[in-house]
Symmetry: C2
Subunit: 153 residues, 2 copies
Amino acid sequence: MPKYYFEDFSTGWTAEYGPRRVTREEIIGFAAQYDPQPMHLDEEAARNTMLGGLGASGWHSCCIMMKMIADGLLLDTASMGAPGIEEVKWLKPIRPGDSLTVRGSVQWTRPSQSKPDRGFVSFFWEVSNDRGERVMTLICPQMIERRNAGAAA
Amino acid sequence: MPKYYFEDFSTGWTAEYGPRRVTREEIIGFAAQYDPQPMHLDEEAARNTMLGGLGASGWHSCCIMMKMIADGLLLDTASMGAPGIEEVKWLKPIRPGDSLTVRGSVQWTRPSQSKPDRGFVSFFWEVSNDRGERVMTLICPQMIERRNAGAAA
């Protein structure tokens, strides 16, 4: 049974998850599988790129964040998924050994106009490293079931 | 040596990559690692979710697309990375056995105003399955080096 429903979120809600340490092995392993650009794959080659050294793929950063949010919040929430992502900003490289925390806040909530069993919650997620630098932000509207949605239907 | 530089892209540019078949094993494997929601992880549990059956994580879809674009285009391009993603829409579930193609088109290009060695190219990516359904779209502005940027600097 989920702990959290649409009604449990409102402007002012915040939460923090982590820390989660990122290793060199997983940065390179992810890159080999999904984003084989030299800056994510090879320390030597990465030195001559924009990143100035090995850094995680931006997609890897998204996936690491997703796992932290799933474990910390979504698996306990009556989530019905997300229709997409509104915006991702990759602000700084994620380096081998970085410990990441993710902070979430609610931008707005609104009940669905067509489906009375659910509502939308727009989350703003900020990922920071252990040097206090913000490395990524992401805006994602989440569909969440209303409490007692089944009973009302 | 890259084949493609900033000057090689303009409105009207299009390309298509794939097909790329997605297996049940990789859908479940990705979900276990990065997005362990029941709809991406377990056929039986997925039946009672929004997806109505097992479907790939939206993040997995992004990663599969990234690999297709890297292999098809970016590894041959003087790409300097992307500052982020402007928009992702997950339109339909990606099912085990689906064969995906990705079509890219250029929305706009502009030289960087502050750095004469590069420009921005905004790509619109559309991922379709082998039933002709569009399953995902994505807008991403890419930084790309200008041809002879080193010589001009």
